[in-house]
């Protein structure tokens, strides 16, 4: 009692003992041991490491990489356009329209993307030609090239998911703002453009980035309908030289590079659209990285240093 009393008077000199996070030390040691085991294991692996950078920069590999990017962008674009339309249809007061939108989502979320790719690729088996009878007609095979089949297969699959993303964005807008827009004489279309969409975009962008990153990788499915993207390029390499693991790892590296670029892009787009300006965090990518990954910051989280004296 008297001790506390006297210390209250001398609070200037009382040291503070930082929390020692023993659990963090233990788990770090376990992880480090596992990492060493992995490295040792890999060094015994029968992989010609030098082949990986070689394959990585093969012309066919880089061409495949570009094809992957083109297909992913096209599919995501198609998915976004159709997804937004479907989401708006679901809001429709016309029961037929909103039901159709629901049914569309139900169907295309239900079909595996790979299966959808096969269906579009083999469409010519069911329909020899496409068009309006007597007006124009084209051979299905010339329309549904591997690229177009992949575009529709992956794009329609994505559109069903994306419609739900957009719907969530719409639902996040307070209905009061919609009524306020109506009360000053804004039409429903104008309210959608000026009030709902700009605010929904903020909610929609992070999952869009997620979807695009998924899409980059899902394009590898298109290799099974002979669209020559990254995975197929790797396959072409190892089918001639049998360096299977090396070629696959080169492809892996490319996917990692693409996903990294997409993640950085997502960060900047989120920053551009996500700013509410009223509550925007001013932290930059560099700063937040520095803060979480700097040695000082890391040590602090283990309870090293940081101790001090209360004022």
């Amino acid at each position: 009692m008297t001790e506390i009393k006297s210390s209250l008077g001398l609070s200037r000199d009382i040291p503070i003992v930082p929390l020692r996070n023993w659990g963090r030390w233990v788990s770090s040691v376990v992880i480090a041991a596992a990492a060493i085991a992995l490295i040792v294991g890999l060094s015994h692996a029968q992989i010609v490491w030098g082949d990986i950078p070689k394959f990585f920069t093969y012309r066919s590999m880089i061409k495949g990489m570009f094809s992957t990017v083109v297909l992913a962008c096209a599919c995501q674009g198609l998915g976004i356009v159709i997804g937004v339309v479907i989401a708006i249809m679901r809001r429709s007061k016309n029961p037929v329209t909103s039901w159709l939108a629901w049914f569309y989502i139900y169907v295309f979320r239900g079909i595996p993307a790979l299966l959808l790719l096969f269906i579009f690729f083999n469409l010519a088996l069911a329909f020899k030609s496409l068009g309006i009878p007597g007006i124009f007609s084209v051979s299905t095979n010339t329309v549904f090239t591997p690229f177009v089949a992949a575009l529709f297969g992956l794009g329609l699959n994505e559109s069903a998911y994306y419609a739900e993303v957009v719907r969530a964005g719409f639902n996040s807008i307070d209905h009061g703002q919609v009524e306020a827009a109506h009360s000053i004489g804004m039409t429903p279309a104008k309210t959608m453009r000026r009030v709902i969409l700009p605010q929904a975009v903020r909610v929609i962008i992070p999952p869009t980035g997620n979807d695009f990153i998924s899409m980059l990788k899902n394009t590898s499915l298109a290799s099974v309908i002979s669209y020559s993207e990254l995975l197929m390029a790797a396959g072409n390499i190892y089918s001639t030289n049998f360096r299977i693991m090396e070629a696959l790892m080169a492809a892996t590296l490319w996917y990692m590079v693409l996903v990294s670029i997409a993640s950085i892009g997502q960060y900047f787009i989120e920053k551009r659209f996500g700013s509410d300006r009223s509550n925007a965090s001013s932290m930059t990518l560099k700063k937040s990285w520095r803060q979480s990954m700097s040695p000082g910051g890391m040590l602090k989280r283990f309870g090293v240093g940081g101790g001090g004296v209360a004022l």
Partner: protein, 257 residues
């Protein structure tokens, strides 16, 4: 075309149902140009619903609401009422301002942009003209210099005053206030009521749903009591407050004072 002998707002036998629940059971009300009408009564009595019907945020099931020479929600031709599309309804709402309990400002736009939005998008004013009008209105509601603030950076009272300015920017002939101070901290109520007082003094026609009996007594030309979707008593506020005729009104006032 406009018959000046007619009241600005005429509600005739207005019914509104939500499913089986009849919220408005035949409301009749007239509001003259320049009049301030306070709608009083317990929550759930249909006051807000009636206000929302006037602005066609709710479609009425029976009866008519005329604002000037326009039947709300309809086009009158060939002695028939034709239901109108949302696009036309939007036009009908332009001369009718509405202020909500929860302010409902556009949270992604500044105070100035909130006020200028209607003039730019609906009245097709140039941005410069709209901003000038918006600045004048912000000044008028005592928010000079707050134009570049976002709603989240404003207090409730300030947000509500921006919302009032946003409605005024459309140069309305009739202003509807749906419990404009109910969501405010007690010390912020005064600043909003004083804006309403100024508007009333300038001759704005207003219908105010409120629980502020003191305000109603001071500012209203007509007090109207509504219980369970029925308009039970209306008249001069001093007379009604001093000596209510209907039992429900007596009961209500005895609880409020």
């Amino acid at each position: 075309m406009t018959d000046t002998s007619l009241a600005l707002l005429r509600a005739i036998n207005v019914h509104k149902r939500f499913g089986h629940l009849e919220v408005l059971k035949g409301i009749n009300l007239e509001v003259e140009t320049g009049q301030v009408v306070c709608l009083l009564g317990p929550s759930g009595g249909g006051k807000s619903t009636f206000l929302r019907c006037i602005n066609h945020l709710e479609r009425i099931d029976e009866g008519q609401i005329w604002v000037e020479d326009k039947p709300i929600g309809y086009r009158f031709a060939n002695n028939k009422f034709y239901e109108i599309r949302e696009r036309e309804a939007a036009l009908q709402r332009v001369p009718i301002g509405m202020v909500f309990q929860r302010f409902n400002l556009f949270s992604n736009r500044t105070a100035l942009e909130n006020v200028a939005e209607g003039p730019i998008q609906v009245l097709k004013l140039s941005r410069a003209q709209a901003n000038e009008r918006a600045n004048q209105l912000l000044d008028r509601v005592g928010l000079n210099g707050f134009g570049d603030r976002y709603p989240a950076q404003l207090s409730g009272g300030q947000q509500q005053r921006v919302a009032i300015a946003r409605s005024l920017a459309m140069k309305p002939k009739l202003m509807l206030f749906d419990e404009p101070t109910s969501a405010l901290d007690p010390e912020l109520v005064g600043e909003v009521l004083s804006v309403l007082r100024d508007l009333a003094a300038e001759g704005m026609t207003m219908i105010v749903v409120t629980h502020e009996v003191g305000f109603a007594r001071e500012v209203a030309d007509k007090a109207v009591f509504m219980f369970d979707g029925v308009l039970v008593e209306e008249g001069n506020p001093d007379e009604i407050f001093a000596n209510p005729k209907h039992d429900r009104t007596k009961q209500f006032l005895s609880k409020v004072f």
